[in-house]
């Protein structure tokens, strides 16, 4: 499904098309996914951008999700590209970089000055650095957080102002919530879907997916085993039910699930679903390894596709604006994601007031210092690898295999799907 709509960015240009043409108006097409989450932020950006660049007209294309967004761009690459700038999920950027669709934006950034001085710190640049070059600029970043039902926590004898900071504490509280009966469940961890929440467990132990040279798996060691054992303990000690993600979300919104571990990106949606059913709160993830522990970063990055010089320049201007301190402030205020410009993070003048008024959005920002890029697997099987990992975890959640067995099988299957060295 594809919706196409063009925003009359500038009344002037519409009223006086001749004048606009004379001044060299450029029309670009920008794509983004998940309008449910992002539409308000892009609308705000478009309005602010139109005031700065009245000669750039933007046609918008949206896809309901990242997957269809990826298909759209790849289909267009096979026929004829009309999208000049596309906002894609971090984990898909590598695929575009390896297929020669995303362009290196580093030269453009350098031409404007020192990237760090403009708020593009090395950590932020790393989020969209794939395929060996700067294949995009991070637009919106997210990390996993804990959502909880403060009413249930209170009823189970817990303290909603001091939630457990370790998994042991979470399991203990979960058992007490489950003991309330009536089909109430303690907690649910969003392990299905993709490899993102698994990486939270793996990175939390200080592990990594592949070796530095990306020729072999690196998760088959103690960190990976620790991650899978933790998943196993979630079921055994925490009593985590076997739910699909939609079912878990519905149970949480209905007030039947105590704690829910998922991305902060779902915050706005969850707030709407929960409404006044109960007191919704959020907090940081339980700490696994206080020193080496990290969290994966979800979200979207803008990637430059346009080849035509005029369109390329115009698309770059919008990308640059959308990731500037001003742009990221608009994005945060309209979505709930973590800002992706260091200037906006460091200077409370941009977002300080927003966070004071919206405490639920603080959880993700409080752990922004340990965010590392979402790992994207190399080669043609990159998406397939993540499905394999989810399938293998299902064996633990259903208690059909031990973490040791699953780790060995997972490593073997992922090895099979990695690109073989040619020659």
């Amino acid at each position: 499904m594809l919706t196409r709509r063009s925003l009359p960015l500038i009344g002037g240009a519409l009223a006086l098309p001749g004048l606009a043409r004379a001044q060299g108006a450029v029309e670009i097409t920008v794509h983004y996914a998940q309008p449910v989450i992002f539409k308000e932020s892009y609308d705000a950006l478009a309005a602010a951008f139109a005031r700065r660049e009245p000669n750039i007209r933007i046609n918008w294309i949206t896809t309901p999700n990242y997957e269809e967004g990826m298909q759209l761009i790849l289909r267009q690459a096979a026929t004829n590209l009309t999208v000049d700038l596309s906002y894609q999920g971090f984990n898909r950027l590598r695929l575009f970089a390896e297929r020669g669709i995303a362009q290196d934006v580093m030269p453009l950034l350098r031409a404007e000055g020192d990237p760090a001085a403009m708020g593009y710190s090395p950590n932020i640049l790393a989020l969209a650095h794939f395929g060996g070059f700067q294949s995009g600029l991070a637009y919106a970043a997210s990390n996993p957080i804990m959502y909880y039902n403060a009413d249930l926590v209170r009823r189970a004898g817990g303290n909603p102002d001091a939630m457990p900071t370790s998994w042991d504490g979470v399991f203990e509280l979960s058992r007490r919530i489950k003991a309330l009966g009536g089909g109430t469940e303690g907690f649910w961890y969003a392990w299905p879907g993709d490899d993102w929440m698994f990486s939270a467990l793996l990175f939390g132990h200080g592990g990594r997916m592949l070796t530095e040279d990306e020729r072999d798996v690196a998760f088959a060691g103690p960190e990976g085993l620790g991650a899978l054992r933790l998943l196993d303990r979630m079921v055994k000690e925490g009593g985590m039910p076997n739910l699909a993600r939609d079912a878990a979300q519905q149970a949480f919104a209905a007030g039947r699930l105590g704690m829910f571990f998922w991305t902060t990106a779902a915050l706005r949606g969850t707030m709407q679903q929960v409404g006044r059913n109960f007191e919704l709160r959020t907090t940081v993830m339980p700490v696994i390894d206080p020193v080496r522990g990290r969290l994966p970063t979800g979200g979207a990055a803008g990637m430059l596709i346009a080849r035509d010089p005029a369109k390329r320049e115009a698309a770059w201007k919008f990308l640059r604006f959308s990731t500037s301190a001003e742009g990221t402030t608009l994005m945060v205020q309209n979505t709930g994601y973590v800002p992706t410009n260091q200037l906006a993070i460091d200077d409370p003048r941009w977002l300080g007031e927003f966070y004071r008024q919206n405490p639920l959005f603080q959880a993700a920002t409080r752990q922004a210092n340990i965010m590392i890029p979402w790992y994207a697997f190399p080669g043609a099987n990159s998406v397939r690898v993540t499905q394999t990992m989810v399938d293998q975890q299902a064996r633990i959640v259903e208690q059909r295999a031990t973490p040791e067995q699953v780790l060995a099988d997972m490593a073997a299957e992922v090895r099979r799907l990695l690109p073989r060295p040619r020659g």
Binding site: F96, G183, A380
Partner: protein, 305 residues
Amino acid sequence: MSEAALSGALPHRRRLGEALGGWLLSLPAALSFLLLLLLPTLAAVAMAFTDFELGLWPPAWIGLENFEEMWADRGFRQSFRNTVVYVGLVAPASVLLGLGLALLIEAGARGRAFFRAVFFLPVVSLTVAMAAAWQYLLHPTIGPLNAALRVLGVASPPAWLSSSDWVLLSLASIGVWEQAGFNMVLFMAGLTAIPRELREAASVDGVHSAFARFRLVTWPLLGPTTLFVVTITLIRSVRVFDTVAVLTRGGPNKASEVLLYTMYTEGFTFLRLGYSAAITLVFLVIVLALMLVQTRLLDRRVHYG
């Protein structure tokens, strides 16, 4: 004389004109068949022998490699097995249920239109929307079904859609619910075509039990209808996709992965269009084989006309 000349020339010219007219009239249909059906199918068949991936150009001809991979692929084998199990559950159950409903409604004196409408509703409703309703009904913690089971004393009722033991059975039940109504309508049409006199004649001849009348008169005469219903049900169940895509996404651990869903994920999520086309080809062969077997084996035995 002129008359004689005319009568000699006309039939010939008219035949030619008629043939030309026929060709012209069928041209739009023939063209659209060629462009919209035959060529894409042939393209898909050709694609099945390449390693075509979305975004990577040009594809290379790799012969039977896709099929070899399929043979060794745990995911595909599981998906094939699941599809067979699903069809094995849905087809017989929905055919028998459809027949039962049709007989009951035909025999009943009152409320025919009402029951017909009730059981036909699932057929005309949108599967995707209905799947959302099923998701709620079968929800492990807030669903009415499990709430009822808990009241009845089942301590931990199953997670219908997320347990690998139950997921296929749950999907199959939804499939039966969807198809039984359609089969019922087909059987009812078949039943009305059976002359009432035949059953009355059987009665007169001393066949008194209703079941015997069904076995001796109704069932044999329903032969052609049954053949059609069985074929169409088999094909419709092999095509299961919507409920899987909406409710389970093939999970957990491929426990509900079915052929069309595998084809979709391979092609559009994993971007391997070549491999996906190879799966499509397998699917096509299955459907064609089903139709052939059905018509060839049963055709002789079901004609009474």
